[in-house]
Structure formats: structure tokens, C-alpha cells
Symmetry: C2
Subunit: 215 residues, 2 copies
Amino acid sequence: MPITPAQLDGAMAWRYATKVFDPSRRIDAVTWSALENALVQSPSSYGLQPWKFLVIHDPGLREQLRPESWNQSQITDASHLVVFLVQRQIGPAEADRLITTMAQTRGLDPADLATYRQMIDVDLIHGPRSQQIARWASNQVYIALGTLMTAAALLEVDTCAIEGFDPAAYDRILGLENGPYRSCVVCAVGHRSDSDKHATLAKVRYPASELIEVR
Amino acid sequence: MPITPAQLDGAMAWRYATKVFDPSRRIDAVTWSALENALVQSPSSYGLQPWKFLVIHDPGLREQLRPESWNQSQITDASHLVVFLVQRQIGPAEADRLITTMAQTRGLDPADLATYRQMIDVDLIHGPRSQQIARWASNQVYIALGTLMTAAALLEVDTCAIEGFDPAAYDRILGLENGPYRSCVVCAVGHRSDSDKHATLAKVRYPASELIEVR
């Protein structure tokens, strides 16, 4: 059953970049499961899913990450902390992985998907966009970030996307340095503290008349 | 009132990258208004909103854009076509625009926001991230894209994000070449056609056990 336009409006008005989380309020398991599923189901170009999502529960790890994140309290205090990872390279192995999974999921022979495979080759792996493949890959990760923040708001779960962190330090702390993924962006997820004064500040947006243009 | 986790799961399962839109089915005005509002309210780093959203209704323009989009039928057939634009530069003028709007919205003196302004300066305009400001800016646009696709699915509105287009041709056709924005990504929005065989294909996702890792 679809939600109503008013529910969407309400959720978009309710959400804000939460600065102070209530460390005593955890996201319940059913709600978190749906948010995790939203991450897994997030759309990406060609369906390549050039990502992985680390959910950091270990308090010791959180303590190590916080000073590498401008000491922001959300890192230690939010119910859930998601580190969005992005693939370092998009090459034949990544395309093969998708084609294999697609063939299995849809009961096809991988050979049936040769044209699709070739599109990925020509467009991303060897084509003009291969020059900017790191940007392409991080763009996809931000689709998943947008998906998570919007889905969370509709469930009345608070989020704060965090770009203010040291990716190299994160990669070191999380043992990613020699792996296929690197840290890309972070999102704290949980419930706002009553003491967060940012919750009641007016949201600052340019007027729709400046942002939307109809042609 | 929040939605239920099951509604979120259902919407994520229902959505797919729509290949064939029903050109006779329009998005009703109330629903579109909520989706437009979701774009306007989308979060961005520092709240800088380095974007603009062109909604292309003119059939002649759509006809011109289609051959520059791998001739994909969604360009002409979807109820609404959104071209996401991104700012070419993030400099002092863009920071000033935000600070001015923030001061007006919250009834503050811009001088009260000097620290915030300086953070933007040090981080984005002159700092290390200024080297990759184009990537930073397009990442923000993809948050708005993820927001739109997720919100639409919850309203049972179909979408198809389109990266397969010629940005230079779009910029020429849309008269953006000498302006502050360039075309970044496209999203067709509308209702699926009964003839779209992609609607019933199994969604291809890597298993959660590969995508989610708990630490």
C-alpha cells in the first residue's frame, strides 16, 4: 500500500541532520532490518552495487573512529553507525560478478547476458567514463546514502550523514588498506536527543522557485 | 505518522528501473508536488544544495534529448523527466548565498554564522577537498537522486535513473553552456507500461551477507 503525499511531506520536514543522538535509544530490530534491506535493494547504475556497508557496533572501534571524525559525538552515540564503502576499481572481475549473479537469479546462461556485459565493458571499464570511474562509483554510493536517509525519515529514525572524517584513518582502523573497498561516506542512524537544539531550528532551503525550473 | 517497516520493504521490492513507461499515465499534481518537495528538502553537505532540477515537459525538447540519451524511450514517454543539474563551481559566492539564506531563515545576523562560513571555506573552497570539488558536488546530487527514487517508490511512482546520456549535448540543448550549472544525471518518473517485461524480472542483488558486515 503506497504512502500518502502528506506522509512524505511530513517525513521530509521532520528529518534534519541530527547532531546529538540519545545513546540510550536503540533502533528496534525489525526497523533496522528494513533499513538494512533498503541499503541492499538500493538502485545503482547497471545494478553493479559497487559498495559494501559496514555497521560498527564495537564501542572500542567507535572510540577509535571518533577522533578521526572531527570528534563528532554522533560517531559514538548513535544507535547504528554505517560506514559506506566503495569499490576501489571497477574492472572485468566486478562485471563478471554481476553477470554471474544475474544469470543465477534469473535462471539464464551467462552467455545470454553477453550484450549487457559488453555494454558495461564499453561504457565503464574501457570507455570514456573509465577515466572518472572513482567519481562514478562514489556517486552510486550516494544513491544508497540518499535511500537510507529518506527511508529512515519515513520510519521516524534519525540520521546524520558525515563527510567530515579522515578516509585514510578509517581505512587503517577498519583494516581496509589492502582490500578491494575503501571508506567513502559515513551515516549515523538512531534517535535524536531531547537536548539537540538543532532539531527545532528552521530548515534552510533555497526556495523551490530557485531550485525547480520547468521547461 | 511513520510508515511501517513492511511498507518500506514492499516499496523496495516493488521498484525497478522502469524501461517502458505508459505515456498515457500522468503523475497526479498532489503526488508530483510531494516529489518536488522531496527534491527541494533533500539533504546535502553543509546544506549547500549545489543543484538545480529541470523538469522537462516540452515534447520538442524531449525529442531533442532522446537521441542524446542512447535513444531510450523513457526520455519521451515518462510522465515527468528530471534533469539534475550540478553547480560547476563551489566558491565564495555559493557559500555566501547559503549564509545569507540561513541568516534570513533563522533570523540571525550573517556575522553570527562566521564560524560556519569559515568551515565551508577551510574544508571545501580552499581545503583538501577543493581538489575534488566536482566529485563532491555530484555526490550531493546523487543524494537527491536517491531521495527521489525512494520517495517515488513509496508513493508507487516508477522511476528510471539515466546516466547513459551525453552531458555536453544536454548542456547545449538546454542552454546551460555558459551558466553556473551543468547536467549531471537524469531521472524519468512516471508509471510503468503493462508491456514492460522488466517489471517481472527477479531483482538482482548480492546477498546481504556479502553487502553488510557488522563489526
